[in-house]
């Protein structure tokens, strides 16, 4: 600390040339630096370990440097606090030999002589990514439970699920549109087909279209991507067929407008004021246009049901629509609407997922609290393992 103040004082006086720093005593260097390939990875990591410097307790830390065999100079990777004797270097190039250096740095930032690796080491790739094993376990447990419940349901085990208000309103909305002799508008959002929200929206579209076909109501689906239009046509055609009214299907009603978000909205809001659909469904991936659509629908007095997985847009749908399917409810909707036992089973699987979350959070919170209260190293290790390995 004293040295530190002295350095500052001298520096403030502008008296201290850089070379002066070099005159302070260099700390004892670390020793026995070894580098080995990190096991079970994608070939980008190497593990370093070394023996601590003799004066470890008075150090600022260790500086780790790397260079490829052909590089002229070493570059800094990271600094680690005193007492650390191992480090995993990541973001390396696969099968590329590297050399490493570790130096001790004293509190006045003097570097020791380096400990170096003697021969170059190259990171290699294994066929399984070990850092993702815990993730694989979680994935298998979760997907396994979804599939298991789907199987159970298909075998006739009765599964009970709660009501979701917005979904029961769909029939009512389509029915009202029929009574009024107006159309139903279905907006699948501005996501393309590489977004699960759009695909979930297509699923809901097929149910809504089926209801519409049964009621003999008009359904209008403007889309903002050609692929979504194609998938939408397939879904609606299938729905009309399933409802036994293939002749009422009109592919012109599922059409492409433009890829541009706001031009798409300009078209829809124009359509809404002119044709005054009685029921509006917004199901898919939405961005800023959510409020324009919902306010427009409100102005023309349509029943509006929205569902999206874009958290930022939920407030606007909640404020302006009659019913909003929030996040997970939106994805659950197609299962509900289908009424097929297999699909209902998947909802139970989702609940298992939530139980896993609750369990992990509660266990973690208790352990983390105990760490603070008792300072127990075993608890610390448990929390570290949980957050760094299991949930990484």
């Amino acid at each position: 600390m004293k040295v530190w103040i002295a350095v500052l004082v001298m520096w403030a006086a502008g008296l201290l040339p850089v070379a002066a720093l070099g005159q302070s005593v260099a700390p004892a260097p670390p020793a026995n630096l070894t580098a080995v390939d990190h096991d079970w990875d994608d070939g980008t990591r190497i593990d370093l370990s070394w023996t601590l410097s003799l004066g470890d307790s008075s150090l600022q830390g260790y500086l780790i440097r790397k260079k490829t065999a052909e590089d002229a100079t070493f570059t800094v990777v990271d600094t680690v606090p005193p007492g650390t004797n191992r480090y995993t270097v990541s973001d390396l190039i696969r099968n590329h030999p590297y050399l490493f250096q570790v130096v001790a740095i004293s509190k006045d930032l003097t570097e020791s002589s380096p400990a170096s690796t003697s021969a170059p080491v190259a990171p290699t790739m294994q066929w399984l990514d070990g850092t993702r094993v815990w993730f694989l376990v979680i994935l298998l447990v979760f997907c396994g439970s979804v599939i298991a419940f789907i199987e159970l349901a298909r075998r006739g085990v009765p599964l009970k699920v709660r009501r979701i208000a917005g979904l029961e309103a769909i029939d009512e909305a389509v029915g009202r549109a029929t009574e009024m002799g107006r159309s139903c508008l279905f907006v699948p959002g501005i996501g393309d087909l590489n977004d699960m929200q759009t695909i979930a929206g297509m699923s809901i579209l097929s149910r809504v279209a089926k209801t519409a076909a049964e009621y003999n109501a008009q359904i209008e689906v403007p889309t903002s991507h050609s692929l979504v239009m194609t998938a939408g046509q397939e879904a609606v055609q299938g729905a009309f067929l399933a409802a036994g009214r293939p002749d009422s299907y009109n592919s012109d009603k599922i059409y492409y407008v433009t890829d541009e978000q706001f031009a798409y909205v300009a078209h829809i809001q124009g359509y809404m004021t002119r044709e005054k659909p009685a029921a509006c469904f917004y199901m898919g991936s939405f961005f800023a246009e959510s409020l324009i659509l919902a306010e427009m629908g409100n102005a023309i007095g349509a029943i509006q049901i929205a569902g999206t997985g874009q958290p930022a847009q939920l407030p606007f749908f909640v404020a302006a629509c009659d019913y909003t399917l929030i996040g997970e409810e939106f994805f659950a909707a197609s299962a509900y609407l289908s009424g097929e036992p297999g699909q209902i089973g998947s909802l139970k699987g989702q609940d298992v997922g939530k139980l896993i979350v609750a369990g992990l959070v509660i266990a973690g919170v208790i352990a983390e609290t105990l760490v603070v209260l008792t300072n127990s190293p075993a608890m610390r290790a448990f929390v570290d393992y949980l957050t760094r390995k299991v949930l990484s």
């Binding site: 001298m10 520096w11 720093l21 800094v76």
Partner: protein, 321 residues
Amino acid sequence: MRDFLEQQWWLVVIVLGSLAPLAAQFVSRGFLPTLRTLDRRWIFLLMFWAVLVPIYFVGVTGRTFPEIPGALAKATFNEIEKLHAGDPVLIAFDYDPSSEGELSPMATAFVKQCAEKKLKMYFMALWPVGSQLADATIDDVLKSDFPNLVYGQDYVNLGYKSGNEGVIKVIVTNLRELYTTDSRGTPLQDIPMMHGIQNIQQMKLVIDISAGYPGIKEWVQYAVTPFPETIHLVGGSTGVQAPQLYPYVPRQLPGLLGAIKGAAEYEKLVIDKYGGPHPNPKYLDGLRRMGPQLVAHLLIIFLIVMANILYFADKRRESRS
């Protein structure tokens, strides 16, 4: 204000004239009935004037709307204010022109305050264009208003370094590992104010102006978290980013300016202390842009209050009948 109304009488006539039918409705049909069936186009019109009139007013008169600095802006201001002449501060420009609207008023005010406090300023950037934006701010503030400050002695632009948070990790312990010259290519040993600067822990304060990644979050994670006693950080951020930074306030991030509102509050503090009786309009960018914001926010608040007055009046009437 009176001069403005007299000279721009035509605007007053248009605004009042356009709202006259609404006023007439309120008078003829009564307050609540009009509110109950209020055509939303009146709200649109109110909103239009709420934004247009302040822009025009500020644009024509150059005057700005009132602003009262909040706790976070005050904290930011005080963190700089408590430093002493000659203390080194690092100012990082981590944004690009797309967020200039929100962030350049902050940058200007930060530099102005540091210059007034006679601090030694070290500029750097983790975003490629940040270095040019820093130069622009230097031209705008230091070269024109503080001509006695000398490059290399009072301020230096270290320029942009690629590597995102990797840069932070290295320079917290060793600045020279990455920086050997300033942005113009002058070797650091030839720059007087770089003598003795080994790392950024020697800075009395780090100021980050940030539009995303890398930005304040990375500075907190890789500079403040490992060295909480030596590195102090304040910053300015875009409105979109600010909520993600609030969890760091105040322990790791004592001061934070969020969006144009934060910029305006901070500008107000700087101008009140250092602006003199007739502050240069270039230090009022944030306050100018707050004009339409303020009136529009007040309008929405007013609308919400009206809506609830109406709701509770209707409820009372219902329960009575």
